[in-house]
């Protein structure tokens, strides 16, 4: 890639490692934060819808009882712990790279991906149990907002798995040529992953416990 065509230099996006003189950070980091800002608005709009639907409902959940009786709190609690654990393994994988320890980096990033799969498997059991009972998003407003919010969050978990798997496999070749740039990529992937954890921190009590 380094000895590519003379036009290659024009295609390079500058400031992948050294901070941009105006922002004081590499472009990738600003990019991921702007992306997360748009994500806040995406989840924010749905969360706002949830608040409106809930505050105007005669009873919540509409079919009676409590959210904690309808949804599986123990499974969701385990899933919260799984996601929190995956956040620390993610940050440890970045820290390992900072300390030039590649085997450790692989171990922690692998663990992060594995935990993301555990989260999805638990979610799969929760969903199928609801479907078996005939509770689909169309059942009532409670299930509509439950499936929309947790579904969108689940899609984000899948997105994280895809990115992290790339960075663990083919993407990790960059470490040999541009170690700092690769470390920044892991940091940015981590910022996204912590955001996914952060969203769940609000979804869990809002949907399951209250």
């Amino acid at each position: 890639m380094a000895e590519a065509s003379p036009y290659a230099a024009d295609a390079l996006i500058p400031h992948t490692v050294e901070p941009h003189p105006v922002t004081g950070i590499p472009n990738g980091k600003l990019g991921i934060w702007l992306f997360l800002a748009s994500e806040v608005m995406l989840f924010g709009a749905l969360f706002s819808s949830y608040v409106v639907i809930r505050t105007t409902a005669a009873h919540w959940p509409p079919e009676g009882g409590l959210s904690s009786e309808i949804l599986n709190v123990p499974l969701a609690t385990v899933n919260t712990a799984v996601l929190i654990t995956s956040s620390i393994t993610m940050v440890l994988s970045w820290a390992s790279l900072k300390m030039q320890n590649v085997p450790r980096f692989r171990l922690w990033l692998g663990a992060t991906i594995a935990l993301a799969f555990v989260f999805l498997v638990i979610k799969y059991f929760e969903y199928t149990h609801k479907f078996e009972q005939g509770h689909f998003p169309s059942h009532d407003n409670f299930y509509a907002i439950y499936f929309t919010l947790t579904g969108l969050h689940g899609v984000h978990v899948i997105g994280g798995i895809i990115v992290n798997t790339f960075l663990l496999t083919a993407g990790s070749r960059m470490w040999a040529t541009e170690p700092e740039r690769f470390t920044n990529r892991i940091e940015n992937a981590g910022l996204y992953w912590h955001f996914v954890d952060l969203v769940w921190i609000f979804l869990f009590p809002s949907l399951y416990l209250l």
Binding site: T23, G24, I25, K29, L30, W33, L34, A37, V40, M41, G44, A45, F47, S48, S49, V51, V52, I53, T55, T56, A57, A58, S68, V73, T77, T80, A81, I84, T85, S87, I88, M90, V91, L92, A95, K98, M99, N141, G190, L191, H194, F195, D197, L198, I201, F202, F204, P205, S206, L209, L210
Partner: protein
């Protein structure tokens, strides 16, 4: 100050690693507290307040330590302040349209 660059960064990192584990344990404890409080069956306004406060503390810890917001550049803070402002706008704007006693 007499230490070499390498040892300082390694020591700094050890401090960081310690922080990560402390936050990790705190997050697990706060999760347990949230679930525990939900079994007390407090009245709804109180339950919502307690759960949201705990969630905000957890989110703050994730953002401050895992996402390194404690020592981040001004431009990120600027982006986040704007985001938070618009988030609350989106959250509270529909409230003004809710008429007492109406149902969706």
């Amino acid at each position: 100050m007499a230490t070499t660059h390498e040892t300082t960064s390694h020591e700094e990192f050890k401090k960081h690693l310690g922080k990560y584990y402390v936050v990790f344990v705190a997050l697990l404890c706060l999760t347990a507290i949230t679930v525990g409080v939900s079994y007390l069956h407090l009245n709804r306004p109180l339950a919502i307040t307690v759960a949201l406060i705990i969630a905000c503390v957890k989110a703050g810890m994730v953002a401050a330590v895992f996402m390194h917001l404690l020592d981040e550049r001004k431009v990120i803070y600027a982006v986040l302040i704007l985001t938070v402002a618009f988030f609350f706008l989106v959250l509270f704007l529909p409230m003004f349209t809710i008429v007492e006693g109406s149902t969706v």
